[in-house]
């Protein structure tokens, strides 16, 4: 399904999170997303192909231009790019010819939101058991975790802002829960 390159402004798309959300939440535009699996021997070549450093540590985001890769495990990345970026599958196929890799399109599987504000970490910690202190979860850290009963990928983009990747059917739940939690917190 690597050939999905329909314009993200396509009126025929239905947004996974159509409703109103908390004032501290910004819904992300449609993105191209891939789950990329790379064995050790493919890291360098894949990095050269996509312009991303796949040797960076686990649970860290690496960004190059509009492309970001979140390393979620020893051999697993979530690659995020603008919906218009159609070059990733071809680039990898060319750069990794003869080498092992796995690329699965999950652009529509999940959706992204940005939560920002001085209480963003506390709002997430209301139902997420991770230590979100800046020392333990610094800017650029990303991990798969839980948000109450939803599975999310949490990426800290600045001291007071987070990007959350949520499976689409769980997004209304996460958004509603964040709004409910947000009632306790001023901006």
């Amino acid at each position: 399904m690597a050939d999905i390159a329909l314009a993200h402004a396509d009126a025929r798309r239905t947004a996974p999170l159509p409703g109103a959300v908390d004032r501290r939440i910004e819904k992300s535009a449609p993105l191209t997303r891939f789950v990329l699996r790379l064995p050790e021997e493919s890291l360098t070549a894949a990095g050269a192909a996509l312009g991303l450093d796949f040797t960076a540590p686990i649970n860290r985001a690496v960004t190059s231009g509009d492309r970001t890769a979140l390393r979620l495990g020893p051999d697993e990345w979530l690659v995020l790019a603008p919906a218009t970026d159609a070059a990733i599958p071809g680039g990898l196929a060319a750069g990794l010819a003869g080498r092992l890799f796995s690329l699965v399109d999950v652009s529509h599987r999940q959706t992204g939101i940005r939560l920002a504000g001085p209480h963003a970490a506390a709002m997430i910690n209301a139902v997420c058991p991770l230590d979100l202190g800046l020392a333990a979860f610094p800017v650029g850290m990303a991990t798969r975790t839980i948000f109450a009963k939803a599975d999310i990928v949490l990426w800290r983009t600045s001291p007071a802002s987070f990007h959350l990747e949520i499976w689409r059917s769980f997004a209304p739940y996460v958004a509603a829960l964040l709004h409910e939690i947000g009632r306790e917190y001023p901006d």
């Binding site: 798309r13 599987r109 202190g133 059917s169 409910e180």
Partner: protein, 982 residues
Amino acid sequence: MTQTYRLATGGLIDRSRTVPFTFDGKAMTGHAGDTLASALLANGVHLVGRSFKYHRPRGIVSAGAEEPNALVGVGRDEGHYTPNLRATQVELYHGLRAESQNRMPSLERDVGSITDRLWRFFPAGFYYKTFMWPKGAWTKFFEPRIRAIAGLGRSPAAPDAARYAQIYAHCDVLVIGAGPAGLSAALTAAETGARVIICDEQAQFGGALLAEPGKSAWLAEQRARLAGFANITMLPRTIAFGYFPHNMIGLAQDLTDHQGEASDDAPRGRLWQVRARQVITATGAIERPLVFPDNDRPGIMLADAARTYVERYAVKPGNRAVVFTAHDDAYRAAVSLHRAGVAIAAIVDLRESPAGPGLDAARTAGLPVRTHATIIGTEGNLRVAAVSVATIGETKSERIACDLVLMSGGFTPSVHLFSQSRGKLAFDPALDAFIPGTPAEPTIAAGAAAGCQSLEAAIASGRAAGLSATGQAVAAPVAETGAAGFLGEVPHGRDPASVRAFVDFQNDVTAKDITLALSEGFRSIEHVKRYTTTGMATDQGKTSNMNALGIVSKSLGVAIPSIGTTTFRMPYTPIPFGYFAGYARGELVEPVRETPIHAWAAEHGAVFEDVSLWKRARYFPRGAETMHDAVARECAAVRAGVGLFDASTLGKIEITGPDAAEFLNRMYVNAWTKLKPGRLRYGILLREDGFIIDDGVVGRIADDRFHVTTTTGGAARVLNMMEDYLQTEFTDLKVWLTSTTEQYAVIAVQGPRARAVIAPLVEDADISAAAMPHMSVVECRVAGVPARLFRVSFTGELGFEINVPADYGRAVWEAVAQAGQAHGIVPYGTETMHVLRAEKGYIIVGQETDGTATPDDVGLTWAIGKAKPDFVGKRALARTALASQTDRKQLVGLLTADPAEVLEEGAHLVADPAQAVPMTMLGHVTSSYWSAALNRSIALAMVRNGRARIGQTLHVPLPGRSVAVTLTDPVFYDPEGARLDG
């Protein structure tokens, strides 16, 4: 009522703020800074409740969390009502409404107190001994009545109107308790830069020092220092109620409870789940009552509590007091009350020759002290009126009138949390108390909780804990001599069978009850506890456990360490359920998963059903159609024309890598190696025990890429199982798994007209019967959207399933619906899907199977790749124990004699409906529907040796009748499968 017992000066209350409240409807006032208990005492009210079993009048005993008697219901209405709150912990607020419990009609005149006069008939364990006959009388007669009489608070009659918050937090050091030890520990730890959380159940930090006016300057200084540390989080009004594994501590923080929950917009409280590198329990100590005859009358309270009411709340707990003690601390209380204007009628000391500064101060103040003396009885109904004092060993007693009795048997360190952490307790004979011994978690006890007696020792102990918790060297502890006090029943020289000396006030357990248990042969403290219920009330024996141990120890002549202590369990004090529910209420109790086509279905009148967390369209009624009518119409449309079905919830897993086919060979029963790209196969997944766990259609997209589908409910389970095998068993395989369940919307188009409907929408593929046979897949465009188009059928008709990226799901669905209009396309739901597949005998995992069905049981032996060396479950199927069974339940069809009779799913099948109960059950109905296509009912069933019984008649026993059924092949419709090609 005016606050006649309020002192003119002193205390931490704000006299400029008068706070009105009611107790049992009576209007009273207190001041800001009061608890409900201190405000009641200021109004001269001691009587606040009736006891659990005997309905005896009870008064305020303590000034803290250990309170056994003063349990009240608080709240302005049922939605904000909380029962069983300790009046000693309830902060007073404007308009507080409190009511006493376990009394009828009133506290003063309570009909239940008849049990008090009959007390001899209600010994420990009476419910095991009496009321056991005649048979059935216990459950029908005695138990309901006993339950009505016994008990404490009532449940609120309306749902909790409050909101509750929750948060997870991490810290280097969590300090529980903000008394002198806790404050010192927190400050010492914070100096290193450590992240510190300090919590305390009270509104203000200070602990016992809040009742020490002489230490207010020191306390103010410590509080100011705390506020100066940005790395300290201070949580007042926060009870640490539970110590969970790996230093996870549960805290319940009162946010608006203490203000009466004025607005439901703000959460009432917040549950904290704190993961701490180090925990310091600076939880203080609890004073022990003395166990003497009739020691439970209102006006009899703990000595240090009485002192606290004087010093902290500026309340005189009475006018004329007798102090009964086995510990020096009570002398401090006596002097304090004396200065406040309470006449001290006598200080009765159990000890033969007490000495020390406390005693000296009492003598200097001219207070009458009687040593080697005891109280052998008390008088007074709703309030203590007199005590009888005797020299130990003598029978002659002196009656002393009083309205207040202070008692002190010494102090018990609060080791509840330490014990919850599985730390071993150690008995300190000098203290006659258990103190924290070997810890099981990174936890340190400090202050009185560790057995410290003096303020200096507590502060030093807190500081040492703070140093130790942050990995620093610790100086030697401050040496001090312990003061034990007294455990057990005091000597009183009276017939033990005729007096009641209460050990556990809340559960009405007396010393006699415990000796009775021992005389009946109970030895283990755990058994004595359960037989007598001592320590089993909501206070978990905070004031009673050590005295119970003392009685057991003396009666058996066994030292306390040899008896051991009972286990402390969370919560430390009862916590409202709402704290645990948190945000998970109403719409947020579970995620509600909706497909991209959900909104269309809702707009078209679909009735939804819950399938795991998903909402699925069950049927689409038109006008006034019933479900039966709608489903019959939808079924007919699919069989005769074409139907449209949202299958998006099906689980999907993308399996990639050069060894993908081999991985599937090992996981599924089927053979995959020869499956060509572009073809589909129906796969069956077993557990290791050979039983079916899931099924689904698998498509080979490329040599190294499979599109696997699972059941809706099995999606996560199957992926987890596969990942587990991949990572632990099949590490040699180069395979990766990715969930794509939500990547695709799946639009099923089923029926003889299916190809005609979608053909105009398909680009880049030839979907003719010749080019695209049943069970094939092609990547193409549908309605301009990239798609994986499956030709597959779960209806028995010609069918396609269009997988498109989810954002386009609705647009493609609408395009298909539009294109189908000319063909009379009908949207159908899961109910119709179930009927259509049942007509074809297709199983649903979890409906026909129940976790104990093999492939052969459900007629799927054909799917097993017999040449394969192995697959998950293969060995189990071959084991003699399974393979040799000859009467396993097998899938069959059922036809009722009366075609209009639709059987109940779950009904049993028997050979002889006249057989006496219990009947020999041969099987059960798994699916049962009205079949529009066959114009009669059909059912699937799992029946013992069912395939051999095909053609036979069995019976379904129902209330008052039975239904005859004929066993048939499970494929009712188009057994040749001719319709798959349209």
